[in-house]
Subunit: 317 residues, 2 copies
């Protein structure tokens, strides 16, 4: 297992700087009052391609040798990694193929195509996704960039919490959504090196709480096709992300579908920002766990803003 | 007619500083490519109470003597001035009554009540609004703060474009939505003093183009109850705003309902910000008038972000 180090994060930061935004950190007196905490929202919804995933994708794509990129890159992804890898490949001018569940939001599919990516659709389950992907790699010979279980990707994601510590002062804790664990692993990698006193929390939909159950059991538990509005958080931990999560995370908190949608809608209403359901899970867990966060400075990573505006979840629940 | 001067804007800026945000200016490589211009979006949707109107409201409320505020303040408004005045009155701890059309967005009504304001409902026409308001003032004796035809309000709105010139370099033009003309008048007042070479454009819904027709005719033309998705832009010019518009505006451009909704949805999708339909009118007119704006640096005032998330216009057109 090739575990990335903080030197890899340093190299990633330099490598990706021309292609990603240093996203702003927003505060909200409304949410501070509601939570009793002082919250610093790291707005990766404003990131290139609409999500933090572009950090890891750019680090992987721009780290490849000219020889390695000839056959292009490929991946499977619930959406944001797909379009981030498409963006990165487009910037480098190489072909990219992505395997996406046919149920992925239309906005994400359109964005992948807009960046020049080729989509191959699969069923919305981990098993179907991996089988379809094996066919794609066999056919194209493309370089596989896994959405999270890849040291280059984790090192790239680690640049986000590094910026967050520079943009806010004296954080006590950072919380991020957890699906496969790429952002949480990058956060663990960075903070354990530069600010080991900051506690790291992960937030997960109750309906897809495999990471939470893994954390309690002490080994990876994977569900094949969980159902949740937080479409970015359906995938399971893998060995690399499990390494970081099991070693550095303080706790994994969960929220129900209704709590996630309420937190999402409230953020749109009060902060006037568009974020996707996955990004609302941390705030949902903060609001139901006041005893953990009240009186503390908490960094909240808003992971992405790619949402289908014609299918908003409060229209459907 | 008491015409405000730039000294009034200076006084306003100092007076309101503790109560309003210096809102950020965002840029978008996507919209720059689409328009051919270099756009600087002044994000008053992130402003306190969700709209630029809080600038004028705070300037009026905090400029009153202790004697004058005893009976409170009152106004009529299509929404944002109502909740901005409620916010300002709440910060000063005085009563506030607002006359609103019963058709105003539910989110705006809830926000007025949340700030402690009292709502009196009227029909959605200028005549009903003014008649209902006369009753309220007769009953309460409250100080009237007009939503735009008030020198204190115009001076307050003038602080917005002042910040915009500091946050962007070398603007050639500024464009803002026009309803009653408060923001446009404040922009004229400030820019004609500090940057007279910057052209000022106003943007109006085709369905409520009374300001455009007034501008061409050379005198105020008022419609009683125009129908447009841009609910903040239904009111007519009055003598104070006509003074500024007729003297300083280069042109008034219009956009159809469909163009407004398309521009609004595209902004949510690409910039990940929540803004109301009125705020999308300038961008809609920029995209259809490339020959005016291409190759130029253009400040675009996004006036507010108060929208009913359960009634989004692309669900209805």
């Amino acid at each position: 297992m090739d575990i990335p180090t903080f030197d890899d994060v340093k190299a990633a930061r330099e490598r990706i700087a021309p292609y990603v935004h240093r996203t702003p950190v927003l505060t909200s007196s409304y949410f501070n009052a509601l939570s009793g905490a002082e919250l610093f929202f790291k707005c990766e919804n404003f990131q290139k391609a609409g999500a933090f995933k572009v950090r890891g994708a750019c680090n992987a794509v721009f780290g490849l040798s000219d020889e390695m990129v000839k056959k292009g890159v490929a991946t499977h992804s619930s959406g944001n990694h797909a379009l981030s890898l498409s963006y990165a490949a487009g910037r480098r001018g190489i072909p990219v193929t992505v395997v996406m569940p046919h149920s992925a939001p239309e906005a994400k599919k359109a964005a992948v195509r807009g960046y020049g990516g080729t989509i191959v659709e699969c069923e919305p389950s981990t098993s179907s996704r991996e089988a379809t992907f094996a066919d794609v790699v066999a056919e194209t010979g493309a370089e596989f960039v896994h959405p999270y279980n890849d040291p280059r990707v984790i090192a790239g994601q680690g640049t986000c919490s590094w910026e967050l510590t520079e943009q806010s002062d004296g954080l006590d804790a950072v919380i991020a959504p957890i699906g496969g664990g790429g952002m949480v692993s990058g956060t663990c990698l960075t903070l354990s090196n530069i600010a080991p006193k900051i506690e790291i929390y992960a937030a997960e939909p109750k309906n897809a709480d495999d990471a939470c159950r893994s954390f309690k059991a002490g080994h990876i538990i994977a569900d094949d096709a969980p159902e949740t509005v937080a479409d970015g958080l359906k995938v399971p931990l893998k060995e690399l992300t499990w390494h970081f999560v099991s070693n550095h995370v303080t706790d994994i908190l969960t929220a129900t579908e209704e709590e996630i949608v309420d937190a999402m809608k409230l953020t749109w209403e009060r902060m006037k920002i568009v974020m996707e359901p996955s990004s609302a899970v941390p705030l949902a867990t903060i609001l139901k766990n006041r005893e953990i966060f009240a009186g503390r400075k908490v960094g909240v990573i808003i992971t992405g803003g790619n949402v289908d505006l014609k299918k908003l979840p409060w229209m459907q629940i």
